[in-house]
């Protein structure tokens, strides 16, 4: 928890400590936005032990909801946000209901497949630019005002929502619901023998994760003012998974740390070479092999 407070304080202070330039603020915004999606994924992976490889789809759906409404010239947040969250949540509900009937390797593959399905669907929407993507006419408005166009305001909106997401995840985990979820991860037979059927709990977790990803999608659409099917590519799901691992599975704050770390690392690597994936790839492999506890695990030496 202390690490979390430290992170949030640092993020709040960042614009005034040398990260105030437009480009850097955008970078931090990306980190925080993906952090929101990663928090949802953490609930699944770290909380419930479910490895989902299709999380980017929910993020993309949130983004495309913004697009669809933008096409209709609707930008009011009071409409856009609920629609996006609902869309992402419904998709999570429908796909999760099927996927959660499977376990292990099958579950991973099914989430991947559903993610691809959404990816192709997005690419075939010629109305929204198909493969080329869609440029927003304008950012989401709050009560008619174009507050989000201001980078600093946007920064703190993202930070605020990140904080909210963190609190929600924390609360869920500490509640009766979270306890059952964790138990089912540690030993499913035992949990069933106690009288709990893990399915409805996992489904709820899946939907919550989906809704958070949808929220991230709304913010990402605003940050880039552009949305493309590549947002739903499975490599993006892999990235999100990497963020969760990188931060360590011990607590949700790890997901935020991982997101920021990856975003900054990718930026830095991209400055070195256009073939930065040649470096990132092996780094990911090494992390998977040698960092079972993620970055957070590096500090604790127990």
């Amino acid at each position: 928890m202390r690490l979390a407070l430290l992170l949030f304080a640092a993020l709040a202070a960042a614009p005034f400590l040398g990260f105030g330039a437009g480009h850097q603020l955008t970078l931090l915004a990306h980190g925080m936005i993906l952090g929101i999606a990663a928090l949802g994924l953490w609930l699944l992976v770290g909380g419930a032990g479910l490895v989902s490889l299709g999380h980017a789809a929910m993020l993309g759906i949130g983004a495309y909801a913004v697009v669809a409404l933008d096409d209709l010239r609707i930008t009011e947040a009071a409409v856009v946000v609920p629609v996006a969250l609902l869309a992402a949540g419904l998709f999570a509900l429908a796909t999760g209901a099927v996927a959660l009937r499977t376990t292990g390797v099958n579950f991973i593959m099914i989430t991947l497949a559903f993610g691809q399905m959404a990816f192709f669907a997005a690419g075939s929407l010629a109305l929204y630019g198909g493969d080329d993507g869609y440029t927003l006419y304008g950012r989401t408005t709050l009560a008619g005002g174009r507050w989000l166009a201001d980078r600093l305001v946007f920064h703190f909106v993202c930070l605020g929502l990140l904080g909210l997401a963190f609190l929600v995840i924390h609360m869920l985990l500490a509640a009766r619901f979270g306890r059952v979820l964790r138990a089912a991860r540690e030993n499913q037979s035992r949990t069933e023998a106690l009288g709990f059927d893990p399915y409805p709990y996992r489904l709820l977790a899946y939907v919550v994760a989906g809704v958070l990803a949808g929220l991230a999608g709304v913010l990402l659409a605003n940050s880039n003012e552009f949305v493309a099917p590549s947002y739903l590519a499975w490599q993006r799901s892999g990235d999100l998974l990497f963020m969760v691992i990188l931060g360590g599975l011990a607590g949700p704050e790890g997901a935020i740390l991982g997101a920021l770390a990856l975003v900054l690392a990718e930026e830095w690597l991209a400055m070195l070479t256009p073939h930065w994936r040649l470096i990132l790839g092996p780094l990911i492999v090494l992390a998977a092999l040698f960092l079972p506890r993620g970055l957070i695990g590096i500090r604790r030496h127990d």
């Binding site: 609360m171 869920l172 500490a174 509640a175 009766r176 619901f177 979270g178 306890r179 059952v180 964790r182 138990a183 540690e186 030993n187 037979s189 035992r190 069933e192 023998a193 106690l194 009288g195 709990f196 059927d197 409805p200 709990y201 709820l204």
Partner: protein, 252 residues
């Protein structure tokens, strides 16, 4: 004469051509400890699986309090009061000892779809959990992580978890497996204290414990019941002797 708490009627299960459970019938009455013994390969594990709900019998019925539960899933049976302990220890290693038991209590006290309040602060759950821990003598280790417990302590925890579920039927699958003499004695004492409470179906290899605890014993060999009755009768039964001939009938 009231219904027995658990009744097995003609259970049958085959794997391919191999008949592992052959027309097994038995019943367990409230308050009694009914032991199930048999040489290795007798089919005890498969039978337990059919009672617990992890395996489906090919034929026959399982009745709990007169109700047919043969087709019900594991979690459903547990909610109806069929509580089991595991032969391979299944405590939750990342949870504390208290949390392990509190989770069991939680299953019986209202919905677990509560999303807002921290469960660790629910004093009702914690109190009930401590009662169960007291019963098995593990209260002092309440805040320890279950993964750090010694083997015998984990066995005690298994028992505490089972008791916390307010069982109608307690299905104990080799609760003494892997324990040393001292720990085994302590566990036998705990189990003995259960008499008069829930119905207990006890599967065990430790013959001393079985004969010390059981009100009735059923002997399984090659999937069939070859004898059933009070301990003295079983001890004298020639068929039982024959089944065990050459078998070292003591545990660990």
């Amino acid at each position: 004469m009231t219904d027995p708490v658990l009744r097995l009627e003609g259970l049958r299960k085959a794997y391919g051509g191999l008949l592992v459970t052959d027309a097994v019938s038995l019943d367990v009455r409230a308050g009694e400890i009914h032991a199930l013994i048999g040489p290795n390969g007798a089919g005890k594990t498969t039978l337990i699986g059919q009672v617990a709900g992890t395996l489906r019998p090919d034929a026959g019925r399982v009745l709990l309090d007169g109700r047919d539960i043969t087709g019900l899933a594991v979690a459903r049976r547990a909610r109806l009061g069929l509580v089991r302990s595991f032969q391979m220890i299944a405590v939750l290693p990342g949870f504390t000892v208290l949390e392990n038991v509190a989770l069991a209590v939680q299953a019986k006290h209202g919905s677990s779809f509560r999303l807002f309040r921290p469960v660790a602060r629910e004093s009702g759950l914690n109190r009930a959990a401590m009662v169960a821990l007291d019963q098995v003598g593990l209260a002092a280790r309440a805040t320890a992580r279950a993964g750090t417990l010694a083997h015998g302590e984990k066995r005690q925890l298994e028992l505490a978890i089972a008791l916390a579920q307010s069982p109608r039927l307690l299905l104990l699958d080799e609760p003494l497996a892997g324990t040393g003499t001292e720990e085994a004695e302590r566990l036998v004492g705990l189990l003995g204290a259960l008499k008069g409470g829930p119905a207990v179906l006890l599967v065990e290899h430790d013959m001393d414990a079985v004969f010390a605890l059981a009100d009735r014993i059923t002997v399984l060999a090659l999937g069939r019941v070859i004898a059933s009755g009070p301990p003295a009768a079983i001890r004298a039964d020639p068929a039982v002797r024959a089944a065990y001939l050459g078998e070292a009938a003591d545990a660990c």
